[in-house]
Symmetry: C2
């Protein structure tokens, strides 16, 4: 079981080759203390010749910091965790920190197990990535290192949560539609149980209210986050309100279904009906027959911001509360003329 590395070059080897003590070799390599220029040079050369890599375990044991953070996701498989992960990994890597990845698959037992493992590995901090942006129970209690929540909000206001600004994103989309002169705007979206759905509906409602415009149908059409629902809801909408001239969709997937139905009904997009999606999921948004104007959640930035706040907390600069990171509107043909690529 003891699988010692074969090629383990240690600082002792370097010191021997350079003809100095390990203490001096250590100082020379770490540019601390006063070391004679000549000695430093000899040590560095020896280290290079031996391809010496300091053992991070030994360093961590001494310093008490492993330069590692644990990244705990509820559900890696969904499409939201990935970009967040990517942004975080990138930001942490730039800060010389490594990422220990754990996917709990929504399982509480697994989560506790992973937290224990991560702490025993002396992670310097924890990033908790949610699979939806609803509130979630805080896990911070009993964790002796900084914790930052991303995408899903911790229910403890003493935690720091980095969230996508769904209401603001929907406002961007709605303002765009209003600016285009659309006056009969409807909203087809996902399950009302999701905070994302409610927040987006609220953002749209606010903008329409400010513009003195009604929401077609009176209420958002809540349903499912699927193309199927998009198709179904659109055909109901067109029957009940044939005068609709814009549809804000709760997701690109829904928008994709909506556009299929509009096509079937002979409505032109965007001439007759402007359509806006949500998520900027390229595969739907950029590839469909009529490329889709949509709201990008800036998830990579979300991950990066979370990582930066974690690093700041490690340096003693700890924040609490909620940070809502704005999305951005991506203009494509479904609301207007082809934009120059």
């Amino acid at each position: 079981m003891a699988r010692r590395r074969s090629s383990a070059v240690t600082l002792t080897d370097v010191a021997r080759r350079a003809g100095v003590s390990v203490a001096t070799a250590s100082k020379a390599l770490n540019a601390r203390d006063d070391v004679a220029a000549d000695t430093r040079h000899r040590v560095q050369q020896a280290a290079e010749e031996l391809a010496f890599q300091p053992n991070a375990l030994a360093r961590g044991l001494i310093s008490g910091t492993s330069r590692t953070v644990g990244l705990l996701t509820d559900e890696l498989a969904g499409r939201f965790a990935m970009p967040v992960l990517l942004g975080a990994e990138n930001a942490l890597g730039n800060g010389q920190m490594s990422v220990l990845l754990c996917d709990t698959r929504g399982d509480t037992f697994r989560r506790r197990h992973y937290i224990r493992t991560l702490l025993s590995r002396q992670v310097d901090g924890l990033l908790i990535v949610g699979d939806k942006n609803d509130m979630r129970p805080s896990l911070t209690e009993g964790i002796p290192v900084p914790v930052v929540y991303v995408y899903g909000e911790s229910d403890d206001p003493d935690d720091l949560s980095i969230l996508a600004d769904d209401e603001g994103g929907a406002r961007l989309a709605a303002e765009h539609l209003v600016a285009l002169g659309r006056r009969r705007v409807a909203h087809i979206t996902g399950e009302e149980g999701y905070r994302a759905a409610r927040d987006r509906a609220a953002g749209l409602g606010a903008v329409l209210g400010e513009a003195g415009l009604p929401l077609v149908g009176g209420v958002p059409m809540y349903g499912a986050w699927s193309q199927r629902w998009g198709r179904h809801a659109a055909s109901m909408l067109l029957s009940a309100h044939p005068d609709v001239d814009a549809i804000l969709c709760g997701s690109d997937q829904i928008a994709s279904g909506v556009m299929e139905t509009l096509w079937d009904f002979g409505r032109r997009v965007p001439e007759d009906v402007a359509v806006v999606g949500y998520d900027n999921w390229e595969i739907f948004a950029a590839e469909c027959r009529t490329p889709l104007t949509t709201v990008d959640l800036n998830l990579e930035q979300l991950g990066a911001i979370a990582a930066e706040h974690l690093i700041a907390a490690l340096d003693g600069d700890r924040r609490t509360g909620v940070i809502r990171h704005p999305g951005r509107l991506v203009l494509r043909e479904s609301t207007g003329p082809r934009t120059s690529a």
Copy 2:
């Protein structure tokens, strides 16, 4: 900078509380040596009361194994790395190993940097996840720990590569079409530069050959991995060969575009033309108007198998060469009657 953990409960604390030496405490907790049942019990209780977690860094320093593997991906953002990652993480987690995640973003400099970091962190092994299944240069040289390649094949036959069996997967699909009595089969697929495209075409060709059937159009229609190409190729195909009765597509995305065009041309799926996709990308395959029969690459299994081989190699059981893991055909409506959900 020295951020020592506040709540660091060490084995010394446990030993003191249990009234024994650290050596005995260690043995009691690790169930080694002979320790009096009573002593063991006292130690365990003390450990529990103090919520003791052994410091994995210290353990690793002694044992020479960190129970950690590095997972190096070329491109996490694509849709293939994720399931592989998931399967690997899961299999490794079950084996008590943690995953250090690194996304090189296809950058060679970054890759070298990450490999150095991972080795200095004393990873026990490396998993290299490709972003496509083409051959790629081996990275193994100079790496003193076992390495397993997943999804992309190493060009060094002394490495172990775990790959999806694209030719076999296409055979499954083709045999299904032939068994359904389709005789005019065409192939619309992605870029010929991709091995996946060529292997799938080869699988289809082989089955058609065995059945004495021609490939409609004589050659595979190579193009791009996009809906757009699917739409375009399908309309060319229908003009040139209106008698086509089945289309094997190189991806679900292509299939999605193909089906849009079939719809526009008034061809019914599957009655007039059977369509098979590739990838089982649920969002396209299960959600489109006519749910899609397709080939699942079993990517999670691929990741899990790679992890298991890595663990085996750690235990001295090292394999080399290529393992092709079969895909599976997922039957939906695009080739036949609705299957019972």
